[in-house]
């Protein structure tokens, strides 16, 4: 069982941490260097956690659990105008990031208005590529009810946030509803506001757990971090991608940030030690995000084996 954790510490000797994680059979999901500090998102086998903790305390670093690591969460606002950004949307996205998720902000083209709000097919398909989504709505009960149309056709769990208290029964298409967010024109700084952000994280965590449980009923042929490692090794061009996270992890696959047409065959041909190629155990198709490559690992029921 791999445990998602986040290491924060100095750049000096942080490679020892990365080496240890790889030796233990874990994965380094993301590495962010900010001047003299480094943040690593790691997946580490639970039983070896003590070894890592010992090394990190020696390096005077910090290790915290990052429950959302290895997932991608969309934060959707009705538009990208001043009415919705920056405060609420950025606070939520940043909080998700701090808990290990990769958060993407999406502003709808025509999401505004009570009567006129709409979402198009491209937008909902883009949102569907994530593991969970947070929809940020405003302060009026009537509008939040009405805007259900925006997420009715989304296939991933939808966490809806808004100002007023609304019972869950009134929003049947939402996974959960988190109140007391709404339209805010200042940064979240009061204890109650931070508590609300925690509620959103918890709700997203529950949504992801549900997806994990669903996946475990028909497990994936291999785990996404393993695919990530193999792609990184065998398609070295990915390291030259300008994205801060060249391979983004989802619960059921990865997104490789290379042009689809040029690299789809290279990704398809990635070979595992067991002798199978990635093309045999996963679907490889163009992502809705730019011209990236979307890899979706097939479940055991389709390939007949798990490794």
């Amino acid at each position: 069982m791999l445990e998602p954790v986040m290491f924060t510490g100095g750049v000096y000797k942080h490679d020892l941490v990365m080496e240890l994680v790889e030796d233990l059979g874990g994965y380094v999901l993301q590495k962010n260097v900010t001047q003299s500090e480094v943040i690593l998102l790691l997946l580490v086998p639970k039983e070896d956690m003590e070894a890592l903790k010992a090394l990190i305390s020696e390096l005077r670093g910090e290790l915290v659990r990052a429950p959302l690591a290895g997932t991608e969460v969309a934060v959707v606002t009705p538009t990208l105008a001043i009415h919705h950004l920056p405060h609420t949307a950025c606070d939520i996205a940043e909080y998700l990031r701090r808990n290990g998720a990769k958060s993407n902000m999406i502003g709808l083209a025509r999401g505004v208005g009570r009567e006129t709000a709409q979402i198009n097919e491209y937008e909902s398909m883009l949102i569907d590529e994530h593991d969970a989504v947070v929809f940020i709505f405003g302060n009026f009960v009537e509008c939040i009810r009405k805007k259900e149309a925006l997420y009715r056709n989304i296939n991933i769990p939808v966490v809806v946030t808004g100002g007023p208290e609304i019972s869950k029964e009134e929003l049947p298409y939402a996974f959960e509803y988190v109140p007391s967010v709404g339209r805010i024109t200042h940064r979240a700084k009061k204890a109650t506001e931070l508590g609300t952000l925690d509620n959103i994280i918890e709700s997203v965590g529950r949504a992801l757990d549900r997806t994990r449980t669903e996946i475990s009923k028909d497990p994936l042929t291999t785990s996404p971090p393993r695919v990530m490692d193999a792609v990184r090794e065998q398609v070295p061009e990915v390291e030259y991608s300008f994205s801060p996270l060249p391979i983004a992890l989802n619960l059921n696959g990865v997104r490789v940030k290379l042009p689809y047409e040029k690299y789809k065959d290279a990704v398809r041909a990635v070979k595992f030690d067991e002798g199978v190629t990635l093309g045999e155990i996963a679907t490889i198709r163009p992502s809705k995000m730019k011209d990236y490559i979307l890899v979706r690992i097939l479940p055991m029921s389709e390939t007949g084996f798990v490794f």
Binding site: P78, T79, A81, I82, H83, H84, V112, G113, R114, E115, T116, A117, G138, N139, F140, V141, E142, C143, G163, P164, E165, G182, R183, I184, T185, H186
Partner: protein
Amino acid sequence: MDPMEVFKVEIAGEEFGAKKYREIIMDILQDLGLIRSIGRLYVFVDVKKPVFAVYGLLRTGIPPLLVRDVADVAQAQGGFQIKVNDEEHMADLLKVLWEKYGRERVEQPSRDVVVVATDASPSDLPVADLEAEFRQDLTDALLRVAPEGFRNRRNEMTDKSFFFIAAEDTLKPELIFEVKEKIRSMENA
């Protein structure tokens, strides 16, 4: 504590929304530094229609900013010397002087000093029309406050008051009349 004398928000059936909109309006007016110039404010929203309206009484009488307000004017050889105290107004001041005297008669020997070749003192020239700036800021604030989808807008401004209405559907005269009536009843309540 509200610095305004009266600040009423009426949103039928949306108590939480009314409370929040109060905060939003306060935040935005404070951000733009307008709060002291508004005496009374009435906000009326009907989410079912949907329509959003604001009516406010202004604390007017902001005099235009004159040269002597922002600078020390002294007679000098061949004209007047203007020493600017607040550099923020330098650009406006130069623009006004250039317009009035022409570029060849305005000289700027140092960063905060301007010399104008003229016989009459320029100290009573207006540098900036604060009233117009205030109106611009106020319109900006109203656009920010109104919910975003409300694309049909109308803004009536007089010396003493302003009335702003925004809706998703076309603004019909009946609707405007009805909302004005509502606000009048809020005023008299």
